[in-house]
């Protein structure tokens, strides 16, 4: 199970990656999450411009036999949706790369510090 060192994680199995500008970040689901869900067939996201509170639902990811809510790791505004998600299986194939879900503008970049680091996420999923 891949867990990248430079990302932050949530207990809901999302990852968040701070971009170079220091105020925007990409959000996706972890390799563990995609593997638990199985074949992902559809991703539904709230539109760009939506303001999110921490832990607010910003969409759903749909596999063949289940649906999971997506929770905002931190507060912010959705700037951009990943246009590659029309082929939802890329979330299975590259959960940390081209399978990212949304780009958000962070209300408070320091909020990331409160999230799990790679070691803590390792522990959460019991690896």
């Amino acid at each position: 199970m891949t867990i990248l060192e430079d990302l932050r994680y949530t207990k809901d199995h999302e990852w968040i990656k701070l971009l170079e500008d220091g105020s925007t970040a990409l959000v996706g689901i972890t390799d563990f999450a995609q593997s638990e869900l199985g074949d992902i067939v559809f991703v539904e996201l709230k539109p760009a411009g939506t303001k999110l509170k921490e832990h607010e639902v910003f969409g759903t990811v749909e596999a063949v036999k289940t649906v999971a809510d997506l929770f905002a790791p931190v507060a912010g505004e959705i700037l951009e949706l990943n246009t590659l998600l029309d082929n939802a299986e890329i979330v299975n194939q590259e959960p940390y790369a081209s399978g990212w879900l949304v780009k958000i503008k962070l209300d408070n970049p320091a909020a990331l510090d409160a999230l799990l680091d790679a070691a803590a996420y390792h522990q959460l999923i019991g690896e």
């Binding site: 559809f42 539904e44 749909e62 596999a63 063949v64 036999k65 289940t66 649906v67």
Partner: protein
């Protein structure tokens, strides 16, 4: 299902099994004051021959469309039903089967539903049809809920004249939600006013709803209504009579986003009001928001064709309270009857039934309009049903026509309106139409 009594011995055995001494002890927790202290006020016991005689006597008091010439419509129509439909639908494989939850062992039922969905898609010229809803009224109400869900808007505008029962089902469905806003457009000459509609539809409106033909049988100006709906970002919902589509444009061809309908005219008996069939169709972009069950075609691991329930992640057993709808069932047997009907009649047959119904209705309307004291209430174009004003109350007309073994029509006094709503199907002969008109001319 037979009634099987419990003998005193069996009751004692059951009480013993659960460790209770007597029936009184079993109901000890029920307060004295709410218990019934006397014997049930029911009919004295009858033996089987007596029960049969009683029930046959009651049944023979019914007057059905096999005994009488029927001009009753208002949502349920007396179209001819080929006997092959009952023969196929009453096969035990279809007749006794429950909802096909287990796809692997329900291939026949699933295929029948798949064929139904495909035929309805072609008839309505829509992309996706679900496995069916309970009836036309619940299909319409579900369409409105779906539009509110998709658009995030709280109001719905009814552009013309819906069946009053559909309106009340719609209000019931919306009563418990946050969205309590059904706006009724004004009517002119029996149809929705386009100029008035322009002032009502705003950016808060989730959907504009129209029934075609409408409750009075009149044809609404659907294209103008569509333009107003779409210009305001609202979905356009059409409730269309499936048989009317033999001669009228299909909802999909004039821009319906959701099209629904009451499927009874397609090979389902009137049955004193049900069970009926709710038709529900959408355009492709809305497929993930459709309520109810969907049957899809797929291939198994050996590459063989097979049928499955598809997109189940929309449904309650997976999405729980976030499901697109509460409906987890369908009207499989009624949908099967509709599918067999459509298959038997084919494109030409459907067109023929619709054209004959329309022509005969117009012939009769012309005759009745010529009778002194009678007039057509509306001048708007109609399909197979129309409203006439009568020289004596419609209820009295209906009463007198019963003596001629004729159901004269539907009394609009039920809805606090004047007029008699008369429906004509392809089953009516010229002799029946002429005789009806002649008898209307000799009212007492």
């Amino acid at each position: 299902m037979p009634f099987i009594v419990n003998t005193a011995t069996e009751r004692e055995e059951m009480l013993r099994a659960i460790g209770v001494g007597s029936f009184e002890e079993l109901i000890a927790d029920i307060p004295e004051e709410i218990r019934l202290k006397k014997a049930l006020d029911v009919f004295p016991a009858l033996d089987e021959p007596q029960v049969r005689k009683l029930l046959e006597g009651l049944a023979s008091a019914n007057r059905s469309t096999s005994d009488y010439v029927s001009f009753l419509g208002g949502g349920a129509y007396d179209h001819f039903i080929p006997v092959a439909i009952k023969t196929i639908a009453s096969r035990s494989e279809f007749y006794t089967a429950y909802t096909p939850y287990q796809a692997e062992v329900s291939q026949g039922t699933l295929q029948a539903i798949y064929e139904y969905q495909s035929l309805i898609c072609r008839l309505y010229e829509m992309d996706v049809t679900n496995a069916s809803m309970y009836d036309g009224a619940t299909a319409l109400a579900e369409a409105v809920l779906m539009a509110m869900n998709v658009t995030g808007r709280a109001q719905v505008v009814v552009a013309g004249k819906l069946h009053p029962y559909n309106s009340s089902v719609l209000k019931t469905y919306l009563e418990a939600s946050d969205h309590n806003a059904v706006i009724q457009n004004v009517l002119e000459d029996g149809i929705g006013s386009i100029s008035a509609l322009k002032g009502i539809v705003t950016g808060n409106v989730a959907a504009v709803v129209v029934q075609q033909p409408n409750f009075y049988g009149c044809l609404e100006e659907v294209e103008a209504i569509r333009d107003i709906a779409h210009a305001n970002g609202a979905l356009f919902i059409v409730s269309a009579d499936p048989l009317s589509l033999g001669v009228l444009a299909a909802p999909g061809s004039y821009g319906a986003d959701i099209a629904v309908g009451e499927g009874q005219p397609l090979g389902n008996p009137q049955n004193f009001g049900g069970p009926y069939l709710g038709i529900f169709t959408v355009k492709q972009p809305l497929v993930r928001k459709i309520p109810g069950r969907l049957v899809g075609m797929t291939k198994d691991k050996d590459g063989e064709e097979g049928f499955i329930l598809t997109l189940q992640t929309r449904e309650q057993h997976i999405r729980r309270e976030k499901a697109t709808s509460n409906i987890c069932s369908n009207q499989a047997l009624n949908a099967l009857q509709a599918a067999v009907y459509l298959s038997l009649l084919g494109r030409e047959g459907i067109r023929d039934v619709a054209a004959q119904s329309a022509q005969k209705a117009h012939y009769l309307a012309g005759k009745i309009a010529g009778i002194p004291g009678f007039s057509l209430k509306y001048t708007s174009p109609f399909f197979r049903e129309f409203v006439v004003e009568t020289p004596i109350p419609a209820s009295a007309v209906i009463e007198q026509m019963l003596e001629h073994k004729v159901f004269a029509g539907y009394d609009l006094a039920v809805h606090n309106e004047t007029g008699l709503l008369i429906a004509v199907t392809e089953k009516r002969t010229q002799a029946e139409l002429d005789s009806f008109a002649k008898n209307l001319g000799t009212l007492k």
